[in-house]
Symmetry: C3
Subunit: 268 residues, 3 copies
């Protein structure tokens, strides 16, 4: 499966409109639901423990995001994650703020260990904190040396047995024996809340198509990056960016992707 | 009361700015509060059990939306609903995702039975699930045959003793011996999260004016449909739609409504 | 420190990007996080009791907003507030809806008494309710006579030992022996949810720079007012306002502020 066919995979998303279950944070519920809808998927946002088994069974992917976690939500994350594992529903975990508090770090590690996600999608400091390495986490942003980021992602991909997708100036996707980089995107995306969370939700949408975890993670970052570039060119700042971003997602097509994509994946 | 005076009723909303209490889902809290404000009502969003009696007493309508329900919120919904019933405050129930989980189906049915809402506002599959009929619910959207939708709405209106408002390509409002259809709206509205929830909130705004449940439900769908059309013409996709929609709500006036409304209500 | 240097203080915000911890309401989480990002600060939104001590220790200001309070959140507010007090992290309290329910009034008063905030930021009826005076609170808006508002703010500033910032047609900032008025802003801001909450978050951003409570509160209202004016001129209604507002925050600079600011602060 090559990037050449990303336009086809987006078309398939729009056609199949797969249900993606999101247990996500309060800040981004609206914006990630809208991103999934704009791209063609069918989002459902929920968190009641008692409905997790049923909703997971209806869904083709599960996105777990710990951005505003609390004990009842953590319980729902584990409940849905276990149901997903039993039922073969692929899971994305977004360890938002991992490293900033013991609760976040512990929850993220336990989720990864118990649920065996298909993809972990975070920024470099969150990935580092998940690994157990120390390093300053300031909220949800961080800057680490590119080599360190690769080493961390490879170590986590190995220890967790999944694909690790690291957003940053150049996004990095690491799986068993594979690595891809997505150089699309725009710095304004760091001045808008929830773009990372949206990447995770979009990763869930591509997983819901039945793609491999690696392809889903790479496609998601490619789509985010290209839509982000288009939106940045049209927006006048971070306020007008989100509407432009969703419009760009909605109108993404093969010619635009062909003209814009800057994805590199060295032969193994 | 005829549709002819819908412009007057909107003017009255702007003048009276009635308080509408919303116990609604996390995804749409911001967008429905903004829709109520744009239309002229005064929203309050709350969910603490301990303040439900007092806030209901201050309010002229109550909107209960189960989109992201959980046990403490369900308790608040019943508490507010009972207070509203005692105090004669009209209630809209939006059974989001009814049919998708036992928790949603049971909660929606129990709320309807105990609170005796003025209006139930949902999509066709939610209405069907409330009735007890089986049919695929995929998240919050569904497609059923138009005749089936009418039969379901009539059955629910009869059994629940209230008005049933069903959003769809043509919206359907059914009450005792009355039926209306609103053919306004635009397909892009299905690619934006929370438009159904906004319909329910707007229904609450018209109920807060003291209209009959039927008139309030019909006015709400008419307003949603016309504002949606105007917004769809101005937007470039689902991203730019919400801002245009709120601007359209804010500027709605009688001449625009006269030119646009496609509401049919056969003589009984 | 004079208003003359507000442009410099904004530049410092963008440079330092201080972390501001927000325990705020569901309605405005996204919009206030985006406002902080657009202005240059680094927001974190959280509410789990177990991480409050750690997150407060990472943060340079704490914003507590009771807009959609419930018992677990109230516990987190006190926990974070006590940690902030111990650690010398300045706190803003926004008593949203104080006066509308006993739960809100009691919680707001207890928070003020126990946490000793640097700034209380509310509208006139909320400030009045906090004081213990009676007066109609209708949701989150109110109109009181200007002299009454000044008297209430002075009384609360005295009794609570903090700065009181009252938003209204002319914003009022009252501290020990100081009073300032900000005549910037636009009426459309009352038709958009969360502008008051955003003022409180922005107050937190200026506190995070180490400004005095009075200067931070005044700077915040000045920034809100100027950005609000610019946005109102560009927007076509309350729907297009929020994007314009964030863009205006992002682009605020000294020449624009010099041309627009209408802040008066009589010599003591």
């Amino acid at each position: 499966m090559s990037l050449h066919s990303l336009g086809n995979r987006i078309a398939r998303l729009r056609d199949e409109a797969p249900l993606v279950l999101n247990i996500t944070n309060y800040v981004v519920m609206n914006s990630t639901a809208n991103a999934l809808l704009a791209l063609g998927a069918s989002p459902i946002m929920a968190h009641a423990v008692d409905e997790m088994d049923e909703l997971t069974a209806l869904s083709r992917a599960l996105v777990i995001n710990i951005g505003t976690l609390s004990p009842p939500w953590i319980e729902a994350m584990f409940r849905a994650g276990r149901a997903a594992r039993r039922q073969g529903v692929p899971v994305v975990i977004d360890p938002v703020g991992c490293g900033a508090s013991t609760l976040r770090t512990t929850t993220a590690r336990d989720l990864v260990a118990e649920i065996a996600p298909a993809v972990i999608r975070g920024n470099a400091s969150e990935i580092r904190a998940l690994l157990g390495a120390t390093g300053g986490t300031k909220g949800v942003d961080s800057v680490l040396a590119p080599d360190q980021v690769v080493a961390d992602a490879e170590a986590l991909a190995h220890s967790a047995g999944c694909v690790v997708s690291v957003s940053g100036p150049v996004d990095l996707i690491v799986g068993a024996g594979r690595i891809a980089r997505v150089a699309n995107g725009h710095p304004i995306m760091t001045r808008v809340t929830g773009m990372g969370c949206t990447s995770s939700a979009v990763t869930g949408a591509f997983l819901a198509l039945g793609l491999s975890a690696f392809d889903a993670a790479r496609d998601a970052m490619a789509v985010m990056g290209v839509a982000g570039e288009v939106a940045a060119e049209r927006a006048h700042g971070p306020g007008s960016f989100p509407a432009e971003f969703l419009d760009a997602l909605y109108h993404l097509d093969a010619p635009l992707l062909d003209a814009r994509l800057r994805v590199t994946e060295p032969a193994p």
